[in-house]
Symmetry: C2
Subunit: 336 residues, 2 copies
């Protein structure tokens, strides 16, 4: 089996804590041969971590450019400040490399749309990593809905009270403190939730939203509440605060029952009464496995498709611009 020679670009929290734990389980598929980071020390620390864990030492490059020119990698894994995603992806493709890049696709719909158009002009794979699309629970719920487990779905409600304090490691990231991406944490964290909702219930047609800024240390607005409608006619509320901490609430109501999602269970009630335990899984590992298959087989790039990532982001641009007005997602993308 062919191993993909991977260059890690950006050696921050995501690379160390999210991607590397997945990649170290996938040494039959990926070989980390190169690393680079704005701060050379971070790249060296990361190379050391790889060396100590896997026994082979990747080469540390002084710059992204040097890494791209080295001819030592087949693909790059980008875990960067969001505003660098689009230019870094383009640069990789121009050097004839495949790319996996951590979500969100970009800082706003306009630049994300440009990337989607760019992705259609190349045979290189541009894979936007959205681990929620790979999660068992959301895919299982989609299956249950398709089986009619709650009759016709009518309504979904998701409230998240994430409540990050000043000492949170993500909050302390400089590029998150002065975000160039729309809505700061709202879009950065939120694309996961919209990806999950779209896995379960399909594309969203329009959204009406209102934002608030509750704290002064989260870089931007930090509360959002929305009303929206899926193309299927299912209506939803999605409310999230990165300022206030509290219990998460998730429910889908149908004509014949409902599905609740708790930290450990999918709870079905009504037509069917059943508790389905959530499985332990590493969704980052699943996403790299999918990326590998896309690179090495005929599998199309569906779960990492930039157009899908753009729809997740567009929800937030729409909701933030809305101020209570209805914003159609496709139209927002079309007119960007």
């Amino acid at each position: 089996m062919k191993k993909i020679r991977l260059g890690i670009v950006g050696c921050g929290i995501a690379a160390r804590e999210l991607h590397f734990p997945a990649l170290k389980e996938l040494t039959d598929k990926f070989e980390i041969v190169a690393v680079t980071s704005r701060t050379r020390e971070h790249a060296e620390d990361f190379a050391k971590l790889v060396s100590e864990t896997l026994g082979s030492t990747p080469q540390v490059f002084n710059s992204y450019e040097e890494l791209l020119l080295s001819k030592q990698v087949d693909a790059v894994d980008l875990t960067l400040p969001i505003e660098l995603n689009v230019p870094f992806i383009k640069q990789a493709v121009e050097h004839d490399l495949h790319v996996i890049c951590e979500k969100p696709i970009s800082t706003d719909v306009k630049s994300g749309k440009e990337l989607v158009e760019f992705s259609l002009q190349t045979n290189k794979v541009i894979y936007i990593a959205e681990n929620y699309r790979h999660a068992f629970k959301y895919n299982k719920i989609r299956e249950l809905l398709h089986e009619g487990a709650i009759g016709q779905p009518i309504f979904v409600d998701w409230h998240l009270w994430i409540g990050m304090d000043k000492e949170n490691k993500y909050v302390k990231t400089t590029w998150r403190q002065i975000p160039k991406h729309i809505g700061g944490f709202l879009s950065d964290g939120g694309v996961h939730h919209i990806a999950a909702l779209r896995v379960m219930l399909g594309d969203i047609e329009w959204v009406s939203g209102q934002v608030k800024r509750i704290t002064d240390y989260l870089g931007d607005v930090d509360f959002l509440s929305t009303l929206f409608e899926f193309k299927t006619g299912v209506v939803g509320n999605y409310t999230v605060s990165y300022a206030v901490k509290g219990e998460e609430y998730f429910e889908i109501v149908g004509t014949e029952g409902k599905i609740r999602l708790t930290p450990n269970l999918i709870v079905l009630s009504g037509k069917v009464d059943e508790d389905i335990p959530l499985i332990q899984e590493n969704t980052f590992k699943k996403e790299f496995e999918d990326f590998y298959e896309v690179l090495t087989t005929e599998k199309p790039n569906i779960l990492g498709n930039p157009a899908e990532a753009l729809k997740d982001l567009a929800f937030f641009e729409a909701a933030i611009k809305s101020k209570g007005e209805k914003v159609e997602i496709e139209r927002l993308i079309k007119e960007a």
Copy 2:
């Protein structure tokens, strides 16, 4: 103490099951001296009920007109199909009588607004009975919010899955099966919820909503989900279905805690952890007591004010017309 001589007009479910149980506890304040109903038999049954319960028999009138002309009553209590509220209220006032009339104020904002304007031209009391405005729980929550029990309130969420079946006594009412009032049960039942939200959190500035029709036997659309904002900046979701049955969910989230409302408790958590038991009370009795005070003292008509009832109704006309667009409540009333 002066007793108010009351004529009961309309002897349906509301008169028998909601108003009479309150009035029979208030024989020191009200004397039911006259009754009339479209179906004479209902009026006679009601007169018999009064007679058997209280020992005095009200006179049964063949028509509303005859009752109004009888000079036997000081005030009328109207419990009628909604479309009769405005003309019947006006007729009573024109015969120099005070009125208490069951909510909602009217079938739509335009006719409700006309009644509000009419009410400003008369010194007779026009009292729109909204028992939720008198409930301990909503007034207690308002108090808690004013005391800062959860810091700054940010968000309120209220989901009601009322789920009425075909055999429900309200569903079987002819005028509810072919409703002339906007949104059928959505406004008929819903004005209670908006009255309660306004007791707790003040006036609502705008709403964005979407409706659905899930069943074919509820006369009109039977599902509504909304995003809205109070004048204070608190954001809310209110979702209700008269088709689907399920557990009610009510929560107000603030910067320092939250309030949940369960069938038996107000549950405070965060800054203050406390369970406040709900009290047993007859809110209809409280509403008739308030009406009595308005009639017999200098107390202004605040809780039965037609302008307040109009705002409750306007929320629904706005939400139903919205289809996702932002509708400002005051503007809707102004332009009606």
